[in-house]
């Protein structure tokens, strides 16, 4: 299943927008299918946005499960760096 970020949220900076994405992803993941989350046309996400979306899902379903089911696509270099940096925080946290 493909979800385009800009169809779901109007910004990628706030917790409110992040929570809106969380709700859509959670519903889509209930079917068990892999999701291609397109960042085409979206701004680079803040950690607040990611915490309310990806962070909530990771807390609920576990990091490995999340990474296997949510696949960001059409990302710029900066978006990719930010997403990897965010996930690295979970990996580092899991080690401590």
């Amino acid at each position: 299943m493909k979800i385009k970020l800009t169809d779901v949220v109007s910004d990628t900076y706030t917790n409110t927008a992040g929570y809106a994405l969380y709700t859509v992803l959670k519903s889509a993941l209930a079917g068990g299918d892999q999701i291609s989350l397109s960042f085409s046309g979206a701004s680079a996400p803040s950690s607040s946005f990611l915490n309310s979306s990806f962070g909530n899902l990771i807390e609920e379903m576990g990091l490995d499960n999340f990474l296997s089911l949510v696949k960001p696509s059409e990302v710029t270099h900066t978006q990719a760096n930010m997403l990897k940096h965010y996930i690295q925080g979970f990996r580092s946290g899991a080690e401590t």
Partner: protein, 285 residues
């Protein structure tokens, strides 16, 4: 009251007036700078706004004619007006390749960042300006999540074509990072730390999603990480701490501006070091 500002150290006079709760005759600031960095502009703006909120009239006298023209163009003199209302529309200042000085909150953040990126994109063709989005949003979110600033948050950004740099600054008059971190430690029953150690702690990657709301204490770590990748630089002034660095190495000093209130962070992005604007089909985690 007259306040003479000849250099950065003189800003302590502004903060002292805020701390002492001045109320009385108009304040005239005599400014003798020959060049102003974005953080200078924010410190002046914060003082002006704070005093206007206290119903103290402010006059700004600028010695250097070019500096005066510059401050006029970016909107600082307008801020001194007691009946000033920010226009809804944000229009770039092409003569200085800058965006106007703005009070930004969570509702207006998306518009401010979007307009700023769109304008700088015209000056930095094909460069991925995502770092601008991320650093601005992290710093603005930090103000609203942690600082409890009485004047919200002020933002200024400018492109310097000869240097190939974008500078942006975000400032507030809130608790400051050291107090915020130590309040967090105290509330958890942990021992408080020195102001310098408190800022160092805030720069580290913290996975504290359950105990801290919103950006989970990851804003400064994220900014630091992007400054490092860009080989840019940043300066931070908060309470008694001054920090300067390039992300890889951050150096800490006693803040030369005594009585400093809140936090000001200025970031320099090296445009040549930004990635080209292109996308990859799938991100390999």
């Amino acid at each position: 009251m007259d306040i003479v500002i000849k250099g950065q150290k003189d800003y302590h006079k502004l903060f002292q007036v805020i701390q002492e709760g001045y109320q009385g005759s108009p304040i005239t600031i005599h400014l003798y700078h020959s060049f102003l960095e974005p953080m200078d502009i924010l410190i002046l703006t914060e003082f002006i706004i704070f005093q206007l909120n206290e119903e103290v009239e402010i006059n700004l006298r600028v010695d250097n004619e070019k500096v005066k023209e510059y401050l006029d163009a970016i909107g600082l003199f307008e801020f001194c007006s007691s009946n000033y209302h920010e226009p809804n529309e944000l229009k770039e200042i092409a003569s200085y390749s800058a965006m106007p000085l703005r009070r930004v909150n969570r509702k207006t953040m998306n518009y401010y960042i979007g307009r700023t990126q769109a304008y700088f994109q015209t000056l930095c063709d094909r460069k991925d300006l995502g770092m601008l989005d991320i650093t601005l949003s992290e710093l603005i979110n930090n103000v609203y999540d942690h600082s409890n600033s009485p004047i919200d948050c002020f933002v200024f950004s400018q492109y310097y074509p000869q240097k190939g740099e974008i500078k942006l600054a975000v400032g507030d008059l809130g608790f400051g990072i050291p107090k915020t971190v130590n309040n967090y430690f105290s509330n958890k029953g942990a021992e408080t730390v020195s102001q310098e150690d408190a800022v160092k702690w805030a720069l580290k990657l913290n996975r504290t999603t359950q105990s801290m709301p919103h950006n989970a204490g990851r804003g400064l770590d994220t900014v630091c990480s992007f400054v490092k990748v860009n080989n840019g630089s940043w300066k931070l002034f908060s309470d008694n701490v001054k920090m300067m660095g390039n992300g890889m190495r951050n150096h800490f000093f006693d803040n030369p501006i005594i009585n400093f209130i809140g936090t000001v962070i200025e970031i320099t992005i090296i445009v040549d070091n930004l990635e080209e604007l292109e996308t990859m089909e799938v991100l390999d985690w």
